[in-house]
């Protein structure tokens, strides 16, 4: 399979199954577009005749032989022979966890998928004992995996901060005995940040996610305090302090992440605001996931505007990169050479298999986005249950089982999208959401184009 596209003056061909990216001239692009599958040894006469109306035969033959050469080298119309690896993740250890340390929140963001923090199940903080059991669970279910990930999530984790610290201490005290390394991360809305917890986060957390939507008017339209006031003025100075201190320390990873909705389809402005006005150079601004009936939900008719916005952003980033002063926009980051192995790319996430979420009650769910939906409860820490049938169901979900992914050029970049999103829109983890797919494909095109432009001296 080959995907061709024209973007920002570049004619690009991606050989899907090898991952090779080629930049073509227009003639080559037009010629390649005549073929849906492998090129025959001989240039088919009808196509040659047809293209000869526009291009010289000599050049056409020359280009054809170049394309054939690539094909022989396995860089064009290469085969998809990865299906044999699909079962490899069955029975995988669980090595990553989302710990819902607080099912309570001090903001009332309008688009919150967790029903403003309580996941529809009542406001609750996780007892330390439950957190410790979660650590034990990870230690004993992670098999031979050395690196264990634990994300403190909510609601708002800072509302149960003493528990976080005790749980971190407990986990660290077990590292040596079990020969494991914990990598902690935390996602916060920033409201309760102070000098103490900032220092703690910077010392112990490998990554920290700072939720912020961008311009004040945009942020304060969706991210509201309980009294209905916007949160921007409270959180921005605290985030800035955190990052400033963080960059002096050992754990430097952080990112500011925002959500865009129908109300700010000019979200590139929010990206520039976060980068230029606030000084955060690691950032991501992403489309809201919302029920289509919500007034702020993104719908089909917004796509052309969103695509144009992504393109504008990509072009601006190239300009800045060439000047050596660009921020990192997560959705455009792609590694065309050293990225993950193809086996990793067969599924978008470890949800329900290598990764689980644990609630304040000790209930286990496939991931944070399934929490609160009883149908998807897969176990409990207290009674020691774990539904391995459900685990296998997730282990065996991949780009070959998901509707449309096998034939999608984006499969090794998107890897089949988000199970939870698929379930909430289509009632089936194996049925991707068309709207999300369209945006994902556009982002990957932009990301590839940026690489191409940067290789173009």
């Amino acid at each position: 399979m080959v995907h061709t596209f024209y973007l920002n003056g570049y004619y690009i061909a991606l050989d899907v199954n090898s991952g090779a990216v080629h930049v073509l001239d227009k003639l080559c692009f037009d010629l390649l577009n005549k073929f849906e599958d492998k090129l025959p040894e001989e240039f088919p006469t009808e196509i040659l005749d047809e293209l000869s109306k526009e291009y010289s035969r000599e050049e056409l033959l020359e280009v054809y032989s170049e394309l054939l050469e690539l094909q022989k080298a396995g860089q064009l119309f290469s085969e998809d022979d990865y299906e044999r690896f699909t079962d490899m993740m069955k029975g995988a250890p669980i090595k990553s966890m989302c710990l819902h340390i607080s099912h309570d929140c001090n903001l009332r963001c309008k688009y919150c998928f967790a029903s403003t923090g309580d996941f529809g199940k009542g406001r609750k903080l996780m007892p330390v004992e439950t957190g410790k059991k979660a650590i034990d669970f990870l230690l004993t279910h992670s098999g031979n995996r050395h690196n264990l990930e634990l994300d403190f999530f909510g609601g708002e984790p800072l509302m149960n901060w003493d528990a976080v610290k005790e749980i971190v201490d407990y986990a660290r005290s077990k590292e040596e005995e079990y020969n494991k390394k914990f990598r902690f991360t935390v996602t916060t809305n920033g409201v309760l940040l102070n000098d103490d917890n900032i220092d703690y986060i910077n010392k112990e957390m490998k990554n920290v996610v700072l939720s912020l939507d961008g311009r004040k008017c945009v942020n304060d339209n969706m991210r509201l305090a309980i009294n209905g006031k916007g949160s921007y003025d409270v959180i921005v100075p605290k985030f800035q302090k955190l990052v400033e201190k963080r960059l002096e320390g050992e754990n430097k990873e952080y990112y500011a992440r925002g959500t865009f909705t129908k109300n700010n389809l000019d979200f590139a402005q929010d990206v520039y605001h976060i980068a230029d006005d606030l000084g955060f150079d690691q950032l991501s601004v992403e489309p809201v996931i919302a029920d289509p009936s919500e007034p702020y939900a993104i719908t089909e008719e917004d796509l052309p505007t969103i695509f144009a916005e992504y393109e504008k952003l990509a072009v601006e980033m190239i300009r800045r990169k060439k000047e050596g002063r660009c921020f990192n926009f997560f959705h455009f980051m792609i590694d065309l050479d050293q990225g993950p192995c193809a086996i990793k790319r067969l599924r978008g996430c470890g949800c329900g298999n290598e990764y689980v979420s644990v609630t304040p009650d000790g209930d286990i769910y496939p991931c944070h986005q399934f929490v609160g939906n009883d149908e998807w409860k897969m176990g409990n820490l207290d009674d020691g249950t774990l539904d391995t049938e459900m685990k296998d169901k997730f282990a065996c979900s991949n780009i070959y089982t998901k509707e449309g992914c096998k034939d999608c050029w984006c499969k090794f970049y998107c890897s089949g999208g988000c199970n939870a999103n698929n379930y909430s829109f289509n009632k089936d983890i194996n049925k991707p959401v068309k709207l999300s797919c369209e945006m994902e494909r556009k982002r990957v095109e932009c990301a590839i184009m940026i690489k191409v432009a940067m290789a173009d001296k």
Partner: protein
């Protein structure tokens, strides 16, 4: 090549030889989490890195 410039080394095929070890971060693609495409993830398999 006159008409084609290849910008990377196609290596998805080779990547399987020592791949699938599962040491890398369990990515989440969703808007509320790490949210990067899988293709951006870092490989943590030392033996694969060494063999590039």
């Amino acid at each position: 090549m006159e008409h084609i410039k290849t910008v990377n080394n196609a290596n998805l095929k080779e990547s399987c030889a020592k791949g699938g070890c599962g040491e890398c971060q369990a990515s989440c693609q969703s808007a509320c989490k790490t949210s990067c495409t899988v293709a951006n993830q870092e490989c943590e398999n030392e033996s694969r890195k060494g063999n590039k």
